[in-house]
Symmetry: C2
Subunit: 100 residues, 2 copies
């Protein structure tokens, strides 16, 4: 399995708009077992995204999906920066949906 933990910073005042874009069209991503978009309560512009995929290949393929490409294009102007990006190997847990 393949996991991602990332923190991004929205352009000031745009976190809600960016969050909405990040959550748009994420239901039909084959191999996506978990995808969480969260606010950082201590930083008004920060967003955390944590993901679990059945494989790195599934994640890479998702980046080519039309709805993801569209979301990336819409999101880009609202992103001020990427703060951290960690790749992980999920071992187990609770609450993952079966691959989409």
């Amino acid at each position: 399995m393949y996991g991602l933990i990332g923190k991004m910073t929205a352009v000031a005042g745009q976190r809600d708009a960016l969050t909405a874009i990040l959550l748009d069209g994420i239901e039909a991503m084959p191999g996506c077992l978990s995808y969480v978009v969260a606010r950082d309560p201590k930083d008004a512009d920060a967003i955390w995204i944590t993901e679990v995929w059945d494989s790195a290949d599934s994640h890479r393929a998702s980046l080519a999906l039309p709805q993801v490409q569209a979301a990336i294009a819409r999101a880009r102007p609202l992103i001020a920066g990427f703060d951290s990006h960690v790749e992980t190997e999920p071992v187990g847990g609770h609450g993952w949906a079966p691959a989409g």
Copy 2:
């Protein structure tokens, strides 16, 4: 909703044993929507845990559950340190189980 993103370091050579403990008895934690234990592929002793709860209260209550207390006691000698601990406010996503 309440989220946690944490990184801990296992005592050298104990990551697999610690991971097994962290995954033991996590199914029946009321309010736990997502719980992911993952290895860090770039650090042989590092473990990432990402969680989503329906509330901070549910998470706090889980720490008093017998199976969680037992797991904490078993895990403590295998933990070398806690590297990062971020509280988040999950907004949305995919693949979360309904509250347990």
